[in-house]
Protein backbone atom coordinates (compact mmCIF):
# COMPACT_ATOMS: atom_id res chain seq x y z
CA UNK A 1 0.00 0.00 0.00
CA UNK A 2 1.38 3.37 -0.91
CA UNK A 3 1.64 6.29 1.44
CA UNK A 4 -1.10 8.10 -0.48
CA UNK A 5 -3.36 5.12 0.07
CA UNK A 6 -2.44 5.12 3.75
CA UNK A 7 -3.31 8.81 4.00
CA UNK A 8 -6.64 8.20 2.33
CA UNK A 9 -7.41 5.28 4.63
CA UNK A 10 -6.38 7.51 7.49
CA UNK A 11 -8.90 10.14 6.50
CA UNK A 12 -11.67 7.57 6.22
CA UNK A 13 -10.73 6.02 9.56
CA UNK A 14 -10.52 9.50 11.02
CA UNK A 15 -14.00 10.37 9.84
CA UNK A 16 -15.25 7.28 11.67
CA UNK A 17 -13.44 8.31 14.84
CA UNK A 18 -14.89 11.82 14.50
CA UNK A 19 -18.42 10.45 14.48
CA UNK A 20 -17.58 8.29 17.46
CA UNK A 21 -16.09 11.26 19.27
CA UNK A 22 -18.84 13.72 18.42
CA UNK A 23 -21.20 12.60 21.18
CA UNK A 24 -18.44 12.64 23.78
CA UNK A 25 -17.59 16.18 22.70
CA UNK A 26 -21.20 17.33 22.98
CA UNK A 27 -21.56 15.98 26.49
CA UNK A 28 -18.30 17.52 27.56
CA UNK A 29 -19.08 20.83 25.90
CA UNK A 30 -22.49 21.20 27.50
CA UNK A 31 -22.10 19.45 30.82
CA UNK A 32 -18.36 19.20 31.40
CA UNK A 33 -18.86 15.46 31.79
CA UNK A 34 -16.78 12.69 30.25
CA UNK A 35 -19.05 9.70 29.91
CA UNK A 36 -16.82 6.68 30.42
CA UNK A 37 -19.65 4.48 29.11
CA UNK A 38 -19.71 6.34 25.79
CA UNK A 39 -18.00 3.55 23.85
CA UNK A 40 -20.35 0.99 25.34
CA UNK A 41 -23.34 3.12 24.34
CA UNK A 42 -22.04 3.09 20.77
CA UNK A 43 -21.66 -0.70 20.90
CA UNK A 44 -25.14 -0.97 22.39
CA UNK A 45 -26.40 0.97 19.39
CA UNK A 46 -24.65 -1.51 17.12
CA UNK A 47 -26.38 -4.38 18.89
CA UNK A 48 -29.80 -2.73 18.64
CA UNK A 49 -29.30 -2.35 14.90
CA UNK A 50 -28.05 -5.92 14.78
CA UNK A 51 -31.17 -7.24 16.46
CA UNK A 52 -33.42 -5.32 14.05
CA UNK A 53 -31.43 -6.55 11.05
CA UNK A 54 -31.57 -10.16 12.29
CA UNK A 55 -35.28 -9.91 12.89
CA UNK A 56 -36.38 -8.11 9.77
CA UNK A 57 -33.62 -8.53 7.23
CA UNK A 58 -33.55 -4.79 6.50
CA UNK A 59 -30.42 -3.01 5.50
CA UNK A 60 -28.50 -1.80 8.55
CA UNK A 61 -28.90 1.79 7.40
CA UNK A 62 -32.67 1.47 7.43
CA UNK A 63 -32.52 -0.47 10.68
CA UNK A 64 -30.60 2.42 12.19
CA UNK A 65 -33.46 4.78 11.53
CA UNK A 66 -35.69 2.41 13.47
CA UNK A 67 -33.10 2.03 16.23
CA UNK A 68 -32.64 5.77 16.61
CA UNK A 69 -35.74 6.54 18.71
CA UNK A 70 -34.85 3.67 21.04
CA UNK A 71 -31.36 5.04 21.54
CA UNK A 72 -32.63 8.59 22.03
CA UNK A 73 -35.00 7.36 24.70
CA UNK A 74 -32.12 5.55 26.40
CA UNK A 75 -30.16 8.79 26.25
CA UNK A 76 -32.90 10.68 28.07
CA UNK A 77 -33.10 7.90 30.66
CA UNK A 78 -29.35 7.95 31.16
CA UNK A 79 -29.37 11.66 31.83
CA UNK A 80 -32.37 11.71 34.11
CA UNK A 81 -31.24 8.77 36.23
CA UNK A 82 -27.48 8.67 36.48
CA UNK A 83 -25.89 11.75 34.97
CA UNK A 84 -28.12 14.35 36.55
CA UNK A 85 -27.39 13.03 40.03
CA UNK A 86 -23.71 12.73 39.39
CA UNK A 87 -23.44 16.31 38.13
CA UNK A 88 -24.41 17.63 41.53
CA UNK A 89 -21.90 15.67 43.52
CA UNK A 90 -18.41 16.49 42.39
CA UNK A 91 -15.87 16.09 39.64
CA UNK A 92 -15.05 12.47 40.29
CA UNK A 93 -18.62 11.24 40.65
CA UNK A 94 -19.65 11.29 36.97
CA UNK A 95 -16.44 9.45 36.08
CA UNK A 96 -17.02 6.79 38.73
CA UNK A 97 -20.73 6.39 38.00
CA UNK A 98 -20.24 6.13 34.24
CA UNK A 99 -17.37 3.70 34.76
CA UNK A 100 -19.72 1.46 36.72
CA UNK A 101 -22.34 1.88 34.01
CA UNK A 102 -19.78 0.86 31.40
CA UNK A 103 -19.16 -2.44 33.18
CA UNK A 104 -22.89 -3.02 33.55
CA UNK A 105 -23.56 -2.44 29.84
CA UNK A 106 -20.67 -4.64 28.70
CA UNK A 107 -21.71 -7.54 30.86
CA UNK A 108 -25.42 -7.25 30.11
CA UNK A 109 -24.47 -7.42 26.43
CA UNK A 110 -22.29 -10.45 27.17
CA UNK A 111 -25.19 -12.17 28.86
CA UNK A 112 -27.67 -11.31 26.12
CA UNK A 113 -25.53 -11.88 23.07
CA UNK A 114 -22.58 -14.15 23.99
CA UNK A 115 -18.97 -13.11 23.44
CA UNK A 116 -19.08 -13.87 19.72
CA UNK A 117 -17.62 -11.28 17.46
CA UNK A 118 -20.14 -9.98 14.95
CA UNK A 119 -20.31 -7.69 11.96
CA UNK A 120 -22.93 -6.02 9.85
CA UNK A 121 -20.63 -5.52 6.91
CA UNK A 122 -22.26 -8.25 4.87
CA UNK A 123 -25.75 -7.02 5.60
CA UNK A 124 -24.85 -3.58 4.38
CA UNK A 125 -24.39 -4.97 0.95
CA UNK A 126 -22.30 -3.59 -1.85
CA UNK A 127 -21.39 -0.44 0.01
CA UNK A 128 -19.02 -2.33 2.27
CA UNK A 129 -17.01 -4.01 -0.40
CA UNK A 130 -17.16 -1.74 -3.40
CA UNK A 131 -14.46 0.72 -4.20
CA UNK A 132 -13.47 3.05 -6.91
CA UNK A 133 -10.18 2.46 -8.63
CA UNK A 134 -8.68 5.89 -9.20
CA UNK A 135 -5.25 4.81 -10.33
CA UNK A 136 -3.41 1.52 -10.28
CA UNK A 137 -2.16 2.12 -6.75
CA UNK A 138 -5.05 4.07 -5.34
CA UNK A 139 -8.51 2.76 -4.59
CA UNK A 140 -11.17 4.67 -2.73
CA UNK A 141 -13.60 2.60 -0.70
CA UNK A 142 -17.24 3.55 -1.06
CA UNK A 143 -17.90 2.96 2.62
CA UNK A 144 -15.07 5.29 3.54
CA UNK A 145 -16.55 8.05 1.42
CA UNK A 146 -20.02 7.44 2.86
CA UNK A 147 -18.73 7.75 6.42
CA UNK A 148 -16.71 10.83 5.56
CA UNK A 149 -19.69 12.53 3.93
CA UNK A 150 -21.98 11.61 6.83
CA UNK A 151 -19.40 12.88 9.33
CA UNK A 152 -19.19 16.24 7.61
CA UNK A 153 -22.99 16.45 7.41
CA UNK A 154 -23.42 15.56 11.08
CA UNK A 155 -20.86 18.06 12.27
CA UNK A 156 -22.20 20.71 9.93
CA UNK A 157 -25.75 20.13 11.06
CA UNK A 158 -24.71 20.34 14.69
CA UNK A 159 -22.83 23.54 14.09
CA UNK A 160 -25.88 25.05 12.37
CA UNK A 161 -28.06 23.88 15.23
CA UNK A 162 -25.81 25.54 17.78
CA UNK A 163 -25.35 28.79 15.91
CA UNK A 164 -28.67 29.39 14.19
CA UNK A 165 -31.45 27.88 16.29
CA UNK A 166 -32.83 29.06 19.61
CA UNK A 167 -32.55 25.54 20.99
CA UNK A 168 -28.89 25.64 20.04
CA UNK A 169 -28.39 29.01 21.72
CA UNK A 170 -30.07 27.64 24.81
CA UNK A 171 -27.63 24.75 24.83
CA UNK A 172 -24.64 27.07 24.46
CA UNK A 173 -26.00 29.44 27.09
CA UNK A 174 -26.47 26.58 29.55
CA UNK A 175 -22.97 25.34 28.76
CA UNK A 176 -21.45 28.76 29.37
CA UNK A 177 -23.38 29.69 32.50
CA UNK A 178 -26.09 27.32 33.66
CA UNK A 179 -26.97 29.51 36.61
CA UNK A 180 -27.61 32.61 34.48
CA UNK A 181 -29.45 30.43 31.97
CA UNK A 182 -31.88 29.32 34.66
CA UNK A 183 -32.43 32.94 35.60
CA UNK A 184 -33.59 33.80 32.09
CA UNK A 185 -36.05 30.96 31.95
CA UNK A 186 -33.97 28.16 30.43
CA UNK A 187 -34.66 24.77 31.97
CA UNK A 188 -31.13 23.45 32.31
CA UNK A 189 -32.36 19.98 33.16
CA UNK A 190 -34.13 19.84 29.82
CA UNK A 191 -31.10 21.15 27.98
CA UNK A 192 -28.86 18.53 29.57
CA UNK A 193 -31.30 15.78 28.72
CA UNK A 194 -31.44 16.93 25.09
CA UNK A 195 -27.65 17.12 24.93
CA UNK A 196 -27.32 13.58 26.24
CA UNK A 197 -29.99 12.29 23.87
CA UNK A 198 -28.14 13.93 21.01
CA UNK A 199 -24.82 12.49 22.17
CA UNK A 200 -26.28 9.00 22.46
CA UNK A 201 -27.89 9.25 19.01
CA UNK A 202 -24.59 10.19 17.39
CA UNK A 203 -22.80 7.54 19.43
CA UNK A 204 -25.25 4.98 18.03
CA UNK A 205 -24.39 6.21 14.55
CA UNK A 206 -20.76 5.57 15.44
CA UNK A 207 -21.77 2.10 16.55
CA UNK A 208 -23.50 1.49 13.22
CA UNK A 209 -20.35 2.46 11.34
CA UNK A 210 -18.25 0.28 13.63
CA UNK A 211 -20.50 -2.66 12.91
CA UNK A 212 -20.37 -2.16 9.15
CA UNK A 213 -16.73 -1.30 8.58
CA UNK A 214 -15.35 -3.70 11.16
CA UNK A 215 -16.39 -6.17 13.84
CA UNK A 216 -17.81 -5.71 17.31
CA UNK A 217 -18.41 -7.72 20.46
CA UNK A 218 -19.78 -6.89 23.92
CA UNK A 219 -16.42 -5.65 25.17
CA UNK A 220 -15.53 -3.42 22.22
CA UNK A 221 -16.75 -0.37 24.11
CA UNK A 222 -13.61 0.67 26.01
CA UNK A 223 -11.49 0.71 22.87
CA UNK A 224 -13.99 3.00 21.14
CA UNK A 225 -14.05 5.22 24.20
CA UNK A 226 -10.29 5.63 24.22
CA UNK A 227 -10.20 6.52 20.53
CA UNK A 228 -13.11 8.91 20.90
CA UNK A 229 -11.48 10.60 23.88
CA UNK A 230 -8.16 10.84 22.06
CA UNK A 231 -9.90 12.47 19.10
CA UNK A 232 -11.59 15.01 21.38
CA UNK A 233 -8.36 15.88 23.18
CA UNK A 234 -6.25 16.09 20.04
CA UNK A 235 -8.75 18.42 18.43
CA UNK A 236 -9.20 20.52 21.53
CA UNK A 237 -11.76 19.89 24.25
CA UNK A 238 -14.86 22.02 23.92
CA UNK A 239 -14.52 22.64 20.19
CA UNK A 240 -16.91 20.84 17.87
CA UNK A 241 -14.97 21.27 14.63
CA UNK A 242 -11.86 20.50 16.66
CA UNK A 243 -13.27 17.06 17.35
CA UNK A 244 -13.68 16.43 13.61
CA UNK A 245 -10.09 17.50 13.00
CA UNK A 246 -8.92 15.52 16.00
CA UNK A 247 -10.61 12.42 14.66
CA UNK A 248 -8.94 12.89 11.29
CA UNK A 249 -5.57 13.43 12.93
CA UNK A 250 -5.97 10.29 15.00
CA UNK A 251 -7.02 8.24 11.98
CA UNK A 252 -4.03 9.48 10.02
CA UNK A 253 -1.63 8.79 12.89
CA UNK A 254 -2.92 5.27 13.21
CA UNK A 255 -2.81 4.35 9.53
CA UNK A 256 0.57 5.94 9.01
CA UNK A 257 1.82 4.01 12.03
CA UNK A 258 0.37 0.83 10.60
CA UNK A 259 2.09 1.65 7.32
CA UNK A 260 5.43 1.43 9.13
CA UNK A 261 4.49 -1.69 11.04
CA UNK A 262 1.00 -3.14 11.36
CA UNK A 263 1.50 -3.64 15.09
CA UNK A 264 2.09 0.07 15.59
CA UNK A 265 -1.31 1.37 14.59
CA UNK A 266 -2.93 2.00 17.96
CA UNK A 267 0.47 2.91 19.42
CA UNK A 268 1.09 5.89 17.13
CA UNK A 269 -2.36 7.19 17.94
CA UNK A 270 -1.68 6.91 21.66
CA UNK A 271 1.67 8.66 21.30
CA UNK A 272 0.08 11.53 19.37
CA UNK A 273 -2.53 11.82 22.11
CA UNK A 274 0.09 11.86 24.89
CA UNK A 275 2.16 14.41 22.98
CA UNK A 276 -0.83 16.71 22.61
CA UNK A 277 -1.61 16.29 26.30
CA UNK A 278 1.89 17.32 27.30
CA UNK A 279 2.00 20.29 24.99
CA UNK A 280 -1.48 21.61 25.53
CA UNK A 281 -2.33 20.73 29.11
CA UNK A 282 1.16 20.48 30.49
CA UNK A 283 0.76 23.79 32.27
CA UNK A 284 -0.44 22.01 35.36
CA UNK A 285 -2.73 24.76 36.50
CA UNK A 286 -4.91 24.53 33.40
CA UNK A 287 -7.89 22.50 34.35
CA UNK A 288 -10.93 21.38 32.48
CA UNK A 289 -14.06 20.13 34.02
CA UNK A 290 -13.47 21.63 37.43
CA UNK A 291 -15.29 24.90 38.06
CA UNK A 292 -18.66 25.13 36.53
Amino acid sequence: MTVVNAVLQGIFLGAFYAVLACGLSIMFGVMRVINLAHGDVAVLGAYVVFVIVQGTGMSPFVAFVVALPVMILLGYLLQLTILERSLKSGILTPLLATFGLSIVIQNLLLITFSPDVRSLGENAGAVTTSSWQVTSGLSVSTLGVVILVVAVIVFGALQLFLSRTRAGWMMRATAEDSDAAELVGIDSRGVYARATALAVAVAALGGLFLAIRSVFDPVSGPTQLIFAFEAVVIGGMGSLWGTLLGGLALGLAQTLGAHINPEYSALTGHLLFLAVLIVRYGGGRVSFGTAR
Binding site: R166, W169, A173, D179, A181, E182, L183, G185, I186
Partner: protein
Protein backbone atom coordinates in the same frame (compact mmCIF):
# COMPACT_ATOMS: atom_id res chain seq x y z
CA UNK B 1 -52.47 43.58 47.77
CA UNK B 2 -48.88 42.41 47.82
CA UNK B 3 -46.98 41.15 44.83
CA UNK B 4 -44.07 39.67 46.75
CA UNK B 5 -44.05 38.48 50.32
CA UNK B 6 -40.98 37.02 51.96
CA UNK B 7 -41.58 35.24 55.28
CA UNK B 8 -38.86 34.35 57.79
CA UNK B 9 -36.43 33.50 55.03
CA UNK B 10 -33.31 31.64 56.10
CA UNK B 11 -30.56 31.10 53.51
CA UNK B 12 -27.31 29.28 54.07
CA UNK B 13 -24.10 28.38 52.31
CA UNK B 14 -23.13 25.17 54.04
CA UNK B 15 -22.73 26.23 57.65
CA UNK B 16 -22.66 29.95 56.88
CA UNK B 17 -25.98 31.69 57.42
CA UNK B 18 -26.36 34.51 54.89
CA UNK B 19 -29.98 35.45 55.43
CA UNK B 20 -31.56 35.16 58.88
CA UNK B 21 -35.27 35.29 59.39
CA UNK B 22 -35.94 38.03 56.83
CA UNK B 23 -39.53 39.10 56.21
CA UNK B 24 -40.83 41.90 54.03
CA UNK B 25 -43.48 42.72 51.43
CA UNK B 26 -43.48 44.53 48.12
CA UNK B 27 -46.62 46.01 46.57
CA UNK B 28 -47.21 46.28 42.82
CA UNK B 29 -45.57 49.31 41.26
CA UNK B 30 -43.21 49.90 44.17
CA UNK B 31 -39.52 50.49 43.83
CA UNK B 32 -37.62 49.08 46.78
CA UNK B 33 -33.91 49.55 47.35
CA UNK B 34 -32.05 46.85 49.27
CA UNK B 35 -28.95 48.36 50.80
CA UNK B 36 -26.23 47.18 53.12
CA UNK B 37 -22.54 46.49 53.35
CA UNK B 38 -20.85 43.64 51.49
CA UNK B 39 -21.80 40.29 52.89
CA UNK B 40 -25.04 41.57 54.39
CA UNK B 41 -27.02 38.98 52.47
CA UNK B 42 -28.65 41.21 49.85
CA UNK B 43 -27.58 39.22 46.79
CA UNK B 44 -28.46 35.95 48.45
CA UNK B 45 -31.91 37.32 49.28
CA UNK B 46 -32.52 38.38 45.68
CA UNK B 47 -31.31 35.04 44.40
CA UNK B 48 -33.65 33.22 46.78
CA UNK B 49 -36.56 35.30 45.51
CA UNK B 50 -35.57 34.54 41.93
CA UNK B 51 -35.16 30.84 42.65
CA UNK B 52 -31.42 30.56 42.19
CA UNK B 53 -30.81 29.75 45.84
CA UNK B 54 -32.78 27.20 47.81
CA UNK B 55 -33.67 28.58 51.21
CA UNK B 56 -33.06 26.60 54.35
CA UNK B 57 -36.27 27.87 55.86
CA UNK B 58 -39.08 30.33 55.34
CA UNK B 59 -41.28 31.11 52.36
CA UNK B 60 -41.39 33.19 49.23
CA UNK B 61 -44.90 34.11 48.10
CA UNK B 62 -45.45 35.65 44.71
CA UNK B 63 -48.87 36.97 43.85
CA UNK B 64 -50.36 34.78 46.56
CA UNK B 65 -48.68 31.56 45.41
CA UNK B 66 -45.93 29.79 47.35
CA UNK B 67 -42.97 29.64 45.01
CA UNK B 68 -40.34 28.69 47.60
CA UNK B 69 -39.46 25.39 45.95
CA UNK B 70 -40.13 26.45 42.38
CA UNK B 71 -37.02 26.34 40.17
CA UNK B 72 -35.78 29.62 38.77
CA UNK B 73 -36.70 28.98 35.16
CA UNK B 74 -40.32 28.47 36.08
CA UNK B 75 -40.45 31.64 38.13
CA UNK B 76 -39.51 33.51 34.97
CA UNK B 77 -42.71 32.33 33.36
CA UNK B 78 -44.61 33.63 36.39
CA UNK B 79 -43.06 37.04 35.96
CA UNK B 80 -39.98 37.20 38.18
CA UNK B 81 -36.72 38.22 36.48
CA UNK B 82 -33.32 38.78 38.06
CA UNK B 83 -30.47 40.76 36.54
CA UNK B 84 -27.63 38.95 38.33
CA UNK B 85 -24.62 40.53 39.93
CA UNK B 86 -21.76 40.76 37.46
CA UNK B 87 -24.13 40.81 34.50
CA UNK B 88 -23.46 37.19 33.52
CA UNK B 89 -24.10 37.44 29.82
CA UNK B 90 -23.47 34.43 27.61
CA UNK B 91 -20.10 35.42 26.16
CA UNK B 92 -20.11 33.65 22.82
CA UNK B 93 -23.70 34.59 21.98
CA UNK B 94 -24.36 37.91 20.23
CA UNK B 95 -26.33 40.72 21.83
CA UNK B 96 -29.42 39.71 19.91
CA UNK B 97 -28.93 36.02 20.72
CA UNK B 98 -28.55 36.88 24.40
CA UNK B 99 -31.87 38.66 24.22
CA UNK B 100 -33.65 36.00 22.20
CA UNK B 101 -32.39 33.05 24.20
CA UNK B 102 -34.23 34.38 27.22
CA UNK B 103 -37.71 33.00 27.71
CA UNK B 104 -40.17 35.53 26.41
CA UNK B 105 -43.61 36.41 27.76
CA UNK B 106 -46.13 38.50 25.98
CA UNK B 107 -45.88 42.16 26.66
CA UNK B 108 -44.43 45.40 25.60
CA UNK B 109 -40.82 44.19 25.70
CA UNK B 110 -39.22 42.44 22.74
CA UNK B 111 -35.89 42.71 20.93
CA UNK B 112 -36.98 45.81 19.07
CA UNK B 113 -38.31 47.71 22.07
CA UNK B 114 -35.29 46.76 24.19
CA UNK B 115 -32.96 48.12 21.53
CA UNK B 116 -35.00 51.30 21.45
CA UNK B 117 -34.56 51.83 25.18
CA UNK B 118 -30.84 51.11 24.87
CA UNK B 119 -29.95 52.67 21.52
CA UNK B 120 -26.22 52.26 22.22
CA UNK B 121 -26.76 48.57 21.57
CA UNK B 122 -28.14 48.96 18.06
CA UNK B 123 -24.75 48.94 16.30
CA UNK B 124 -23.60 46.06 18.53
CA UNK B 125 -26.60 43.89 17.81
CA UNK B 126 -24.72 41.06 16.12
CA UNK B 127 -21.51 41.24 18.08
CA UNK B 128 -20.57 38.63 20.68
CA UNK B 129 -21.46 39.80 24.17
CA UNK B 130 -17.89 39.28 25.37
CA UNK B 131 -16.71 42.14 23.15
CA UNK B 132 -18.95 44.75 24.75
CA UNK B 133 -17.96 47.35 27.30
CA UNK B 134 -19.18 47.13 30.88
CA UNK B 135 -21.97 49.61 30.39
CA UNK B 136 -23.14 47.96 27.19
CA UNK B 137 -23.13 44.58 28.90
CA UNK B 138 -25.20 45.95 31.75
CA UNK B 139 -27.71 47.27 29.23
CA UNK B 140 -27.92 43.83 27.58
CA UNK B 141 -28.31 42.16 30.96
CA UNK B 142 -31.21 44.40 31.88
CA UNK B 143 -32.70 44.01 28.42
CA UNK B 144 -32.41 40.22 28.70
CA UNK B 145 -34.37 40.26 31.94
CA UNK B 146 -36.98 42.53 30.36
CA UNK B 147 -37.58 40.04 27.55
CA UNK B 148 -39.73 38.01 29.92
CA UNK B 149 -41.90 41.07 30.56
CA UNK B 150 -41.51 40.61 34.28
CA UNK B 151 -44.00 41.77 36.85
CA UNK B 152 -41.17 41.85 39.37
CA UNK B 153 -37.75 42.97 38.19
CA UNK B 154 -34.82 42.27 40.49
CA UNK B 155 -31.56 44.10 39.91
CA UNK B 156 -28.38 43.14 41.68
CA UNK B 157 -25.72 45.84 41.82
CA UNK B 158 -26.13 47.25 38.32
CA UNK B 159 -23.61 49.97 39.04
CA UNK B 160 -20.80 47.61 40.03
CA UNK B 161 -17.62 48.18 38.07
CA UNK B 162 -19.05 50.94 35.89
CA UNK B 163 -17.93 54.53 35.53
CA UNK B 164 -20.32 57.04 37.17
CA UNK B 165 -21.29 58.53 33.83
CA UNK B 166 -22.26 55.08 32.59
CA UNK B 167 -24.20 54.38 35.75
CA UNK B 168 -26.10 57.63 35.17
CA UNK B 169 -27.14 56.37 31.75
CA UNK B 170 -28.21 53.01 33.13
CA UNK B 171 -30.31 54.61 35.84
CA UNK B 172 -31.91 56.98 33.32
CA UNK B 173 -33.10 53.95 31.35
CA UNK B 174 -34.21 52.33 34.57
CA UNK B 175 -36.26 55.39 35.46
CA UNK B 176 -38.14 54.91 32.21
CA UNK B 177 -38.82 51.26 33.03
CA UNK B 178 -39.90 52.12 36.55
CA UNK B 179 -42.25 54.87 35.35
CA UNK B 180 -44.12 52.30 33.28
CA UNK B 181 -45.21 50.58 36.47
CA UNK B 182 -42.88 47.58 36.75
CA UNK B 183 -42.27 46.53 40.33
CA UNK B 184 -38.57 46.76 41.03
CA UNK B 185 -36.35 45.57 43.87
CA UNK B 186 -32.77 46.67 43.42
CA UNK B 187 -29.60 46.12 45.37
CA UNK B 188 -27.40 49.17 45.31
CA UNK B 189 -24.16 49.97 47.12
CA UNK B 190 -24.38 53.67 46.35
CA UNK B 191 -26.62 55.10 49.08
CA UNK B 192 -27.37 58.34 47.24
CA UNK B 193 -28.60 56.64 44.10
CA UNK B 194 -30.60 54.15 46.12
CA UNK B 195 -32.39 56.88 48.06
CA UNK B 196 -33.00 58.82 44.82
CA UNK B 197 -34.59 56.08 42.78
CA UNK B 198 -36.45 54.10 45.44
CA UNK B 199 -39.74 54.70 47.13
CA UNK B 200 -38.85 52.43 50.02
CA UNK B 201 -35.55 51.37 51.49
CA UNK B 202 -34.62 48.17 53.32
CA UNK B 203 -31.26 48.03 55.01
CA UNK B 204 -29.63 44.72 55.82
CA UNK B 205 -26.76 43.87 58.14
CA UNK B 206 -25.32 40.39 58.68
CA UNK B 207 -28.36 38.71 57.20
CA UNK B 208 -31.05 40.63 59.05
CA UNK B 209 -33.19 43.65 58.23
CA UNK B 210 -32.12 46.45 60.51
CA UNK B 211 -34.00 49.35 59.00
CA UNK B 212 -36.99 49.77 56.74
CA UNK B 213 -38.92 52.83 55.65
CA UNK B 214 -39.94 55.40 53.05
CA UNK B 215 -36.87 56.79 51.31
CA UNK B 216 -38.10 60.33 51.57
CA UNK B 217 -38.76 60.23 55.28
CA UNK B 218 -35.63 58.42 56.37
CA UNK B 219 -32.92 60.42 58.05
CA UNK B 220 -29.67 59.90 56.14
CA UNK B 221 -27.62 59.56 59.31
CA UNK B 222 -29.99 56.92 60.58
CA UNK B 223 -29.53 54.99 57.37
CA UNK B 224 -25.76 55.19 57.63
CA UNK B 225 -25.92 54.05 61.22
CA UNK B 226 -28.00 51.03 60.29
CA UNK B 227 -25.78 50.30 57.25
CA UNK B 228 -22.67 50.04 59.37
CA UNK B 229 -24.33 48.66 62.45
CA UNK B 230 -23.25 51.58 64.57
CA UNK B 231 -24.79 51.61 68.00
CA UNK B 232 -26.43 54.88 68.83
CA UNK B 233 -26.93 56.11 72.37
CA UNK B 234 -30.52 55.42 73.46
Amino acid sequence: MTLLRVEELDCRYGLLQAVRGVSFEVSPGETVALIGANGAGKSTLLRAVAGAHKPHGGRVMFDGADVTSMPAHRRVSLGIALVPEGRRLFPSLTVEENLRVAAARRGRWNVQSVLEVFPLLQPRRHMPAASLSGGEQQAVAIGRALMSNPRLLLLDEVSLGLAPIVVDAVYRSLAGIISEGTTVVLVEQDLTRALEVAGRVICMLEGRIVLEGEAASLDRDRVIGAYFGLKRPA
